[in-house]
Amino acid sequence: MNEYSLLIIGGGPAGMAAAVAAKKAGVDDLLILERDSVLGGILNQCIHNGFGLHTFKEELTGPEYAERYANMVKEQGIPFELDTMVLAVEKVQGSDKKAVTVISAKRGVQTLYAKAVILAMGCRERPRGALNIPGSRPQGVYTAGTAQKLVNLEGAKIGKEVVILGSGDIGLIMARRMTLEGAHVAAVAELMPYSSGLKRNIVQCLDDYGIPLLLSHTVVDIKGREKLEGVYIAKVDENNRPIEGTQEYYPCDTLLLSCGLIPENELTIGAGVEIDPRTNGASVSESLETSVEGVFSCGNVLHVHDLVDFVSEESARAGENAAKYIQSGIDRSSKTLAVNAGNGVRYTVPSRISLANLAPLNHIRFRVTGVYKNVSIVVSSGEKELLRKKSQILVPSEMVDLILKQDKLKDLDNDISVYIEEVGV
């Protein structure tokens, strides 16, 4: 009874979309393992709207988007176990099976076996320690997501005078949320000269409420013993170093940190999967298969997304490919081309494409390394140009999704390169 065709680790948007797609493709013997006590993952605390325009063609809030997928999971009779945490994923020696060790009150500590595994564990926030902000360590310093959980799911009132470091989307969303909760948000400080959040969030979360966004600024000291009393914010130079004499004191009882997300790949590493240091996620093929056969990865554990719609789409592909692996196997006979990140491109997902497994439409997703205006995105293979697309503006905070048709790719001989061409330079 502990044998499955497919185990899906994580019941957030990625895991649910992967499960629904795998089930549709004919995999009946599957199970979602979710560590929280409800399906939906981080969407449950994202009570704001802006989700689902691609997937459902309407604007939903996070909980609505989650509930729609949870309903699909339930309607299709896909089994899921809540309050169940996966402790380890391992290859089984001399077999193509994977051993997945889980813990729950119901099962105790148990090992389940599966032909295929989809990794959909999501990501976590970069904590204060990793940011190396000096100062004291009083109460009142939270990562933005933790604050979001406390406010939206626990109903906690966490502060009245707020400073936010980092202009990631969660930080921006929390600036508005705290304002609506009756707090005053004094400023959002961002180390980089551009925001790492979506433009719409700057408009509707900061501009609407007159909250200043201080670009090229950072928190240089934190004051307060038991409770936070205030922070010093200083301007930074082009090397992101604080400029002497520019620091200003902001009295506050709450400091929220929104300084980036890190894919949660401890299980992935434990499974012996090769990690791409640029994304901190697995390195995957066009089928979203990792370096370990039969182990797939999708959603924020693969690379941090800004749109849940992209997560769902990507994860559905992972589910379909896992089904294919289980039912007929993935063709490994053909040529595999590397997908290389060229000028201005930080990484690509996938990082390799095997020509036998092309879909009618193939996605290449990436982020740029800086802000680019009036440039062209180019995909090429040797001398051959596969795609050229003009873009008025490209920013690191917005993932780019390129779609390449099968016939463009199927006869290629050379590795593929994705780069930004700076027009007129």
Partner: protein, 117 residues
């Protein structure tokens, strides 16, 4: 007169340019990639509206996520939130159920965005 603004209808955040006449009426909109962008620019420059999302407490003080069923006038946001703040709702609720009627006299209802038992 040309006004520049960022569309907030979806995460694409299109950079819009709206041409206005002397009376502040929108003559044309450009830069949008869909019809929603044009509609947004027209409403934003004449009568801006926002969907409000927040939580309302159940009778046992559990926060339940809610939203305004339709966008409300921007200047009414705080009144709507204030109105919701003092309500205590009965459980269970289903996603989409109206939990507060006619919030702050905007004529717009507040609906639950998650089913809670």
């Amino acid at each position: 007169m040309i006004k520049e603004l960022t569309c907030i209808c979806c995460p694409m955040g299109c950079a819009l340019k709206a041409e206005l006449d002397d009376k502040g009426q929108v003559i044309s909109v450009s830069g949008n990639t869909c019809i929603r962008g044009e509609n947004y620019a027209r409403s934003e420059l004449t009568a801006p509206v926002r969907t409000v999302t927040t939580t309302v407490l159940s009778k046992d003080e559990k926060p339940i996520p809610v939203k305004t069923k339709e966008p409300v006038p921007k200047e009414k946001i705080f009144e709507v939130v204030e109105d919701i703040k003092f309500q205590r709702i009965d459980l269970p609720v289903k996603m989409g159920d109206v939990v507060v009627k006619n919030a702050a006299d905007t004529g717009i209802d507040i609906v639950a965005t998650r089913s809670v038992d």
